[in-house]
Amino acid sequence: MLEYTPKEMIKRDSGGMINPAKTCQPVGAMYAALGIHSCLPHSHGSQGCCSFHRMHLTRHFRDPIMASTSSFTEGASVFGGGANLKTSIKNVFAIYNPDVIAIHTTCLSETIGDDIPTAIRQSEIPEGKVVFHANTPSYQGSHITGFSNMTNAMVTYFSETKLADGKKEKFVNIIPGFVNPADMREIKRLTEEMGIKYIMFPDTSGVVDSPMTGKFEMYPSGGTTIPELKKTGDAKFTISLGRFASQMAAESLEKKCKIPFVSLKEPIGIKATDEFLMALRGAFATEIPESLECERGQLVDVMTDTHFHFHGKKVAIFGDPDVVTAMTEFCLSLGMLPVHVLTGTPGGALGSGLGGFEQEVKAMLNEAGVCGNVKAAGDLFTLHQWIKNEPVDLLIGNTYGKYIARAEDIPFVRFGFPILDRAIHPYMPVTGYRGALRLIEQISDALLDRCDRDAADEDFELVM
């Protein structure tokens, strides 16, 4: 595999992709929508897209992923899909009976310019049921943008201020970003340990990692409820984790309901987790409980025990911008050298005066004195070329990295979305101090297994 990638960097003027490091908006929107309780995501377009998106999520989460489709035909594509959408809404409530339908568009319905709000207004929506939408044309952004747009739609449709002016309730909104349900659980656990009330949205825990009961639940017990989404407008403040996936919704909430927000990295690694807890502590004037101090202490202990495994090791990191940024920071804190850092999502256009992905990662590398390649809107062909020119000791990224890992014979740690060829990942958090422990275990195992494999007989040792 990948025997075609040449070492010399070639000019790539066409703007096309070779071995993409991103996918399209609707899959992110579908994932975000699953984080609402009793919600059926609806794909407004032809069947193919919906089928691909469900397949992709199904492979990653290994849980049934439900979503309906407008099933566009040629007629709908020429004359507009409004009628299809109205029929869909009627059918979906009649048969699948969700509490909420979350519509996202596809390239097709965007290109023909369907007016979704009007179609929704003209639909028969049963009493007590809700339909909302997000525009997710895939020729802009990536699946991360889609997640962001759908999360933003939750704010624009639902958040409301109930309390008298300026009054706020004592809880925090947490927008977790495009992470696994286990990470959402971990972020909630940390918040609970702090003794702070919260509303997390979207929250896919309990939905895409639902327990086996011997029954198929179309709508498992997890997910943020609509009353909770409404209440987000009364929070003391909002923490948005991962600015590419979450910041847009936090900004809308600020504009709509005057709720201040802080935009933080995904709490991956020690520094980002510290920052998350400090933000909570600062806003609620509470102390960090001993339980969390203890977890942090354990993490630091393990970091000291293992630091020589990592020191000076070159690493390449790729995947979604929010988790890649945080992972880069963590690798630096372990003494590693992230010499190639790449995301497929275009970086920067979405930034709100915060600079782009490339700037942010470069700043981190500069500060640590590491010289590296950094690219947003890149593809895995580029990453592979970089690695050919400057080999690394470790590759960290989603399943698609396995080709490069094999071609270049590099140890590989699976991280991010999607992971299609290994189980369990959605169940194991990488966020928080405990998540960092797990990452250390994975990274150091990968490096040491490699040492053992490569060791000559006379160097092969029991104790490392």
Binding site: D13, G16, M66, T69, S71, S77, I95, L108, M212, M218
Partner: protein, 456 residues
């Protein structure tokens, strides 16, 4: 069935075999109802599935990124040489291209890729958006073909023009364009030469069938399209027979080859011991060569001696269990009904995504009374019928797996995620083994047991 709520408009797609109930015909090949949680894919998906295994071709998806991302190396089609087909190429259309048209970007991508990879043939797939913005794919491809002297073929596969089956047809049309008139004098050849259609070499299945045929004295000219090469495809007309495994995807190509080059075709199935043996006999009889017919019997006898002890063992363990089948094509469903009988199991529900009327007629004939037969099912229907029919196992594809597991029902993948071959005699053993491992796994005890709340 009466107590099962069916989506309005879906009544015609579901039947239960038996006197008390309505009988066939079932509706099929129709458009899905808007608002369905359909398991179906699109034209592009169909075309891609068929063409993608052409191993030395450059497959460029013209459209926004998703369509290419999801189909980048998702099918485990094995190959024996260089594997350009496993790279994911996309023009990654952006907003600007949607507004001003994507032709320039497509031409630029071809200019970048063709000199770099020097492929013998290029397939350019159009996706929905391209169909809507009206890029002139033909013109861009033609220009590139002239410029670089390689065939650059447009695959008109905008997803919305129909279902996966239309995509199969589109792919067949494209393949047909590559095929040249016959060159060799067939009579001069010492061994019969045939084409094998409708095998995508998942887990190396095409290699197994090729090896059986070789043993009985027949050469395979080209496989469509598992582990195939441009040069082989060009020579496809140099065959005296086409055998078709997956009819859903390849029937149309076989017809076209018969019309154009008078190559007869026959439908075969290499799923299950019985079907595999029957198919080999059918092929042997066609050659009318006593040596081949004799060797075929020898090969079958030897294979049966080899695999039957295993199969009988599994049969004892699985006797009386019930299976549900939900697969892509009708012919596979038919074979599976027979194959389950071989291992002592009864099929109680059978459905397909793209089955044809004739397939459903055969299914109606061979299914037991009471069997539920359904076209283009959705998860809610699958769930209900699996439960009401008491299925112990589901055969399906990626999206059906977790559904079955959540219901505590065993599962076998008969689509792209399988890791071992399920075709031929050894495939039959693998299949029985897989059915056995999943049905008889101790994990189901954990599912059924459970901890009663308050017990601890």
């Amino acid at each position: 069935m009466e107590d099962v709520v069916l989506l309005k408009g879906r009544e015609q797609f579901v039947r239960q075999k038996g006197e008390r109930h309505q009988t066939l015909p079932i509706s099929c090949g129709a458009e899905s109802v808007a608002g369905c949680v359909s398991q179906r894919a699109c034209v592009y998906c169909g075309a891609r599935v068929v063409l993608n295994p052409v191993a030395d071709a450059l497959h460029l998806v013209h459209g926004p990124i998703g369509c290419a991302s999801y189909t980048w190396d998702i099918r485990g089609s094995l190959n024996s040489g260089k594997s350009l087909y496993r790279e994911g190429f996309s023009t990654d259309l952006r907003e600007k291209d949607i507004i001003f048209g994507g032709e320039t970007k497509l031409a630029a991508a071809l200019d970048e890729l063709i000199p770099k990879y020097q492929p013998p043939v290029v397939f350019v797939y159009s996706t929905c958006v391209v169909g809507i913005i009206g890029d002139d794919l033909d013109a861009v491809c033609k220009a590139a073909a002239e410029k670089y002297g390689v065939p650059v073929l447009p695959v008109q596969s905008s997803g919305f023009v129909g279902t996966k089956s239309i995509g199969y047809q589109t792919a067949c049309d494209v393949l047909f364009k590559l095929i040249e008139p016959p060159t060799t004098k067939l009579l001069l050849r010492r061994r019969p030469v045939i084409n094998y259609l409708g095998d995508f070499n998942l887990a190396g299945e095409a290699w197994i069938i090729r090896s059986y045929l070789k043993k009985i004295g027949i050469d395979v000219n080209v496989v469509f399209t598992g582990d195939s090469r441009y040069e082989e495809i060009r020579r496809a007309a140099n065959a005296e027979l086409n055998i078709i495994q997956c009819a859903g995807s390849m029937f149309y190509l076989a017809q076209k080859l018969e019309e154009a080059y008078h190559i007869p075709f026959m439908q075969v199935s290499f799923l299950g011991v019985e079907d595999t043996a029957d198919s080999l006999r059918k092929i042997a009889r066609f050659t009318n060569d006593p040596g081949i017919i004799r060797r075929t019997e020898e090969v079958i006898a030897a294979e049966l001696r080899r695999v039957m002890p295993d199969i009988s063992g599994y049969r004892t363990a699985l006797s009386g269990k019930k299976a549900a089948v939900y697969v892509g094509g009708g012919f596979k469903a038919i074979s599976l009904i027979r194959q389950f009988r071989e291992i002592g199991m009864e099929v109680v529900m059978v459905g397909t995504q793209t089955g044809r009327r004739e397939d459903y007629e055969i299914i109606g004939d061979i299914a037991n009374d009471g069997t539920i037969i359904l076209d283009d099912a959705n998860p809610a229907e699958l769930e209900r019928f699996m439960l009401t029919q008491g299925a112990d196992l589901l055969v399906g594809g990626v999206k059906e797996r977790p559904l079955a597991y959540k219901l505590g029902i065993a599962f076998v993948d008969h689509n792209h995620d399988r890791k071992h071959p399920l075709a031929g005699f050894e495939g039959a053993v693998n299949f029985a083994h897989e059915v056995y491992t999943t049905i008889c796994s101790p994990v189901w005890n954990a599912v059924k047991g459970g901890v009663v709340r308050g017990d601890l």
